[in-house]
Amino acid sequence: MKLLRATIYGFGKWVDESIDFSGAPFLCIHGENESGKSTLQQFILFMLYGLPPKKRAFYQPKTSSKMGGVLTIWSPSIGEVTIERFDHVRNGAAICKTSNGQTYDEEWLIKLLNGMTLETYQSIFSFSAVDLDVMKQMKGSDLSEVLFGIGLTGSATIHQLEKRLDQELSGLFKPYGKKPALNEQLKVVDNLWKTSLEQKQKESTYRSKKEQQHALETEMNHLESQLTENKKKEIDVDRHLQALPMLQAYQQTRSQLKQYPETIAFPENGIERLNQSKETMLPLKSELDLLQDKQQEYKAKQNELRSELYEKEVYEKVQQLVNQKQELIDYQAEQTQLGEQIQQLDHQIEIELQDMDIGIEREYLEHIQLPFHLERTWNELKEEQKQLVSEKEQLQQEETTILKQKQYLENQKEEKESNLLEEDELQENKERIQQYEKEQYIKYTEQQRTPQKENWQEWKRKRKKTMQYGSSGAFILSIPNMWLGITMENQFFYVVAGLLILVAAGIAIWSYQSMKLADTFLSEYQLNDVEKSAPSISKAEKNKAVTLLDTQQQALQDVQLIDDQLKKLTIQHMQLEERTNSFQVKQNRFQDKLEETYRDFPFLKRIAITYWPSFYHSLKQLINSNRQLQQIKNMVAKLENWQQDFHQEITQFYAENSWNTNSQNLEELIAELEHLLEEARYTKGLVTQYTKWIEENVHRQRELTKQISIIEREIEDLFQIANVTTEEAFYERAKVFQVKQQLVDKENELRLQLASWYADLDENALQAKANTDALLLERKKELIEQTISQVETTREATRQTLSEVKADLQKMEETEDYSTTIHRFSVEQESLNRMAKEWAIRKTAKEMLTKTKHTYRDHYLDKIVAQTSTFFEAITNGFYQRVFAPLETKTFRVETQDGIQYDVEELSQGTMNQLYVALRLAIGIIMSKKHHVPFMIDDAFVHFDDRRTINVIGLLENISEKHNHQIILFTCKEAINHNINLGKQIRIGNSVRII
């Protein structure tokens, strides 16, 4: 494989640059420090193997946003391939394109590289001065080993790894060590194991202890039963000793009893019964005596009380008086109530009198009489006065009206008369008219018969119209005047109405005559149509005359009418004066009546007549109140009288019975009487009580007597049973009976006591026991006690041992030592096993490494060493001719052309580096038979002298030519550049330049 071109879009300081690697297999890239040589190497590696995101970020150019590029390579199997990678495309994955336009992915690229990983590549085909520096840090003695290690993988890793594994292994375990972790853990586990064995041993004694416990428990049981047996014997002897006096007493009692007769007649519990009867009787008798005394006492007391009481009649009278008490209380209450009423009424009357303020005194009220008709009389006076006033007003009003009308009419008349024409004037106008009419007539008859005729007809029509309007107007005007006349009863209006009717009639008549005149003319026209003369009077003159005549006529009629009216008014005035006179008479009569009333009731003068009816009612009310007041006062007086009488009666009663009293008051007296009654009632009660007690007393006495006789009969019976008659003899007999009974009881008691011990023994056996010697028994007891003491001691010792064994067992059961130890052991053993595994892994790894080393060496070493020799010889210009591979005990050795051999340690630094370079080149060449990838060497020749530098360059040129193996040398040394012959040179710096 060869690199052809690199196009860098952006990678570290490289931005948009292209480098051509083709042209020659050996390529020297020269650049000063920081010119980007290492970055270029990284770019190539990046293109081939990719980079993780962090590293890609590291190479992100500062001046460009692009990161990535294209590398074109040549593969013998495929031809030209371009590899493209961009940071942001597919997470930096490669896109490969072949010359035939096919596109492939990363996987494909890995296959193309034929198993060559980045790591392997860096181990074999890439080395730099830094790798040589690592060598320098190695100790001289390690160097051969290091060189060997490099010979195998291309770096010092194997050696370092081997050493580390050794360290770790010895840190973990040494067969005879103490400190290593495994050895220490082994100790822990071993100790735990031993402890557990001891504890297990201890626990295994549990079984024997259990057996011991069982044996001891059996022993204990045996001893217990022995003890029980002896204790029982001891109890028997003890009991015999204890019972001995009792046994003897029993025998003695039995012999005593034999001296008494078989039976003695005596009532059962005779003494007690007798005593009991006597005891019962005694209180009964004493009670009887007491009752008799009491009876006497009660009777005396009763008589005494009776003497204290008054006669029955006295109490009846007292009772009667006391009974009136309630009446008294009621009357007193009523009296108080009435007093209040009096006060109230009195006050009320006083106020009303003041309110009226008409000078009526209280005394007057008591005497005043209001007859039944008075109210009506006062009312009539009021009405009459009212009527008189209204009548007077009307008369005055009528008079005024009449006078006013009269005045008006007179004025009217005067006015009309002043407007009338003089007589001659009147005549003149008449003539003119006649003259005109005559002339007109002739004219019309001659010339214009027809038009004349029409004129006349017209005129006639007008007249007719005047008649209609004038008469109907006057008539209509007369109607309101008529109505006024009727309503107001005024003759003036009648007159006016009459005049108007006349006017209407006048108009009608005048019009009719005019029409008749017209008809005459009309007929004349028919006759004298041809008659005609010259006119002396104009038509206007003629019309004026007619008008004047008409007016005159009208005025005359008016004057006539007014005169008629005036006459009527005069008549009315006279009638009015008549009525005024009769009103005056009425007025005088009323005044007389009034005076009469004032005489009877002078206070009325102060009151307007209008208010008299209402005043009547107030007065009447007042008089009633006053009467009521008098009635109440009378009642109060009656009540007071009654009380006085009552008091009198009581006082008299006291006197009759010649009782003295300090009480003056009626109430106190009554209270005294009540008390008297109460006392009497109490005394009577006591008397009754005593009577009752005496009855009860007598009854009880009868009962007691009966009981006493019963008891006396019982005593009699007792004597009979004992076959005695006196009490003394009864007691004598009792004594004998008692002694025998005591003996019997004693015998029974002893028998009973003995039975609790010797229930199963008969009388003979008891007799025998009673005859035993006490001393003998004591002796027997001592012997038994000794035995018991011995057994008890043994038992105590056994119990002690047993409890010890039990305690031991319990302790064993409670202890968890063994359990804890085996659990702890298990955990620690696991730790040990884990450590062992750790060790095993490392140990195996180390063994594998060693084994592989041998194999590998066997396989490659000969070739590599031969190749190394060739290269080393070339570099040293034939000074060193052979290199020997290190054997088990020997290191790398070299041989000069003189046949002298040197150890690696003996070589100079430069020579050592040259040997290293030769070795790396040899490995690379050997390996490149499989992996044909370019070498990348970075300034590995710093310690070389000029001669050997030239040799190395020559060697590299040769190798590349001979093996057609691309070698790219990165250097900052100008000298190297100068020595290149066959190779291609590229300068990098400000720009890429190909020389």
């Binding site: 890995i110 990983t117 993988t153 890793t157 194997i158 370092q160 549990y206 095993a840």
Partner: protein, 414 residues
């Protein structure tokens, strides 16, 4: 009235037997481990009392003779005494681990305990209200190994008794994990007239057949190593005439074993990993029981290896453990394993002519035992080290290869 019996079926109590495969646990956890089998026993007793069962069946391996502590015996006796107070009978047999001859601490148990006395099939009759209610059959191991087929020896003695329960401590013949003691095949049990086959010996809970007859391995009551994961306990059984057995599993364990696998590919930095693990574990782990966690961390990149090499991962796990332990029901990461899908292509490397290639080819089938003799045959150490199984040897070889490749390639130049 229908006949009914109720009982607890348990086996393989292994009282006070130590846990296996746990190293460096804190003292308080060690104490809990030590108490765990007894706690499970106490829970069993309490369950029997609470459920008011008629009797308890304990089918062998109540403890281990090899490491039998007196404590185990005493606690067992105390448990029986408690059951006696509640009138609950116990029918028990000895198994291969607690066979009669090997018993170092023979104990006398209260009267409610009935022990199958020898290797012949014996039966006890359980009476309820004066009536025969159930016959319980079984045998005990007198010596450590009973290899005969015992099934054929079981036969019903009195067919008038309503229920017949057979106890058998032995292995199903297909089961290859355990020594084949008193082997049987399911078909053999199926052909019997027993109502219930109460089995013991296998620690994994298995219902071989639900009914007619019911055949059950209840498993052990407390797990003691990684392979015994999940809940452990006993069966509470009710048998009724003419109906299927009423079975319910009752967990008794106090400590559980749990495998947890976490993909931590998303973590590229140490602090991320720590937070991630903390979070994930808190989410994953239940708060109801204490657990030993076996953690497998998988990742796409090499952070884990790096951290593991630098012992950072170990410290992180310790820190995590401190948090996880600080709870009423603690969790403790007992071990962790990392599994990385690294960019190293073994396939490619294998083909290479370089050293790693040769190494991989060379060590493909290495017999490693000889390398390890120094330790494993060490006169003191070999007493306490478990001899390596083929599988373990394989795994060690694999890990060694991995270590070499990683170191040679990944960590080059360090």
């Amino acid at each position: 009235m229908t006949d009914e019996v109720s009982f607890i079926h348990a086996a393989d109590l292994h009282l006070d037997s130590p846990f296996k495969g746990l190293a460096h646990v804190p003292d308080f956890i060690l104490q809990e481990m030590q108490e765990s089998t007894f706690k499970a026993l106490n829970r069993l007793v309490q369950t029997a009392i609470d459920k008011k069962v008629d009797f308890v069946l304990l089918v062998g391996d109540l403890f281990d003779n090899e490491k039998q502590s007196l404590k185990a015996q005493v606690r067992l006796r105390q448990a029986f005494e408690q059951l006696e107070k509640h009138h609950i009978k116990v029918y028990m047999s000895y198994g291969n681990h607690d066979h009669i001859e090997g018993n170092v601490h023979p104990m006398s148990y209260p009267d409610n305990v009935f022990i199958f006395p020898n290797e012949g099939i014996t039966d006890f009759v359980y009476q309820k209200n004066g009536k025969d209610q159930a016959a319980i059959y079984g045998f005990s191991y007198e010596t450590q190994a009973v290899v005969e087929r015992k099934v054929n020896e079981y036969s019903i003695t009195d067919s008038k008794i309503p229920f017949h329960i057979a106890t058998l401590h032995g292995s199903l013949q297909t089961n290859t994990e355990h020594d084949t003691y008193a082997p049987f095949q399911i078909s053999e049990l199926q052909n019997t007239d027993f109502d219930y086959w109460a089995l013991g010996h296998i620690h994994k809970r298995t219902i071989l057949q639900e009914t007619d007859p019911t055949i059950i391995y209840p498993g052990n009551i407390q797990a003691r190593h990684r392979k015994e994961s999940g809940e452990k306990g006993c069966y509470y059984v009710k048998l009724r005439n003419q109906s299927a057995a009423d079975l319910s599993f009752v967990p008794l364990h106090t400590i559980e074993f749990k495998e947890v696998e976490l993909d931590v590919s998303e973590c590229t930095e140490v602090y991320q990993l720590e937070t991630f693990l903390q979070q994930k574990l808190q989410e994953l782990l239940p708060d109801t029981t204490s657990q030993f966690i076996y953690l497998t961390l998988t990742s796409d990149h090499q952070l884990l290896h790096q951290l593991d090499k630098d012992r950072v991962l170990e410290d992180m796990i310790s820190l995590l453990n401190e948090t996880l332990m600080n709870q009423e029901n603690w969790h403790y990461i007992a071990n962790y394993r990392i599994q990385e899908n690294t960019s190293i292509s073994y396939e490619t490397l294998y083909k290479g002519d370089h050293f790693v290639g040769v190494l991989l080819r060379q060590t493909e089938d290495t017999e490693i035992q000889t390398y390890l003799q120094e330790l494993y045959q060490h006169k003191q150490a070999r007493r306490y080290l478990d001899s390596l199984t083929e599988e373990e040897a394989q795994s060690i070889a694999e890990e060694a290869r991995e270590l070499l490749v990683t170191e040679l390639l990944v960590n080059r130049g360090e």
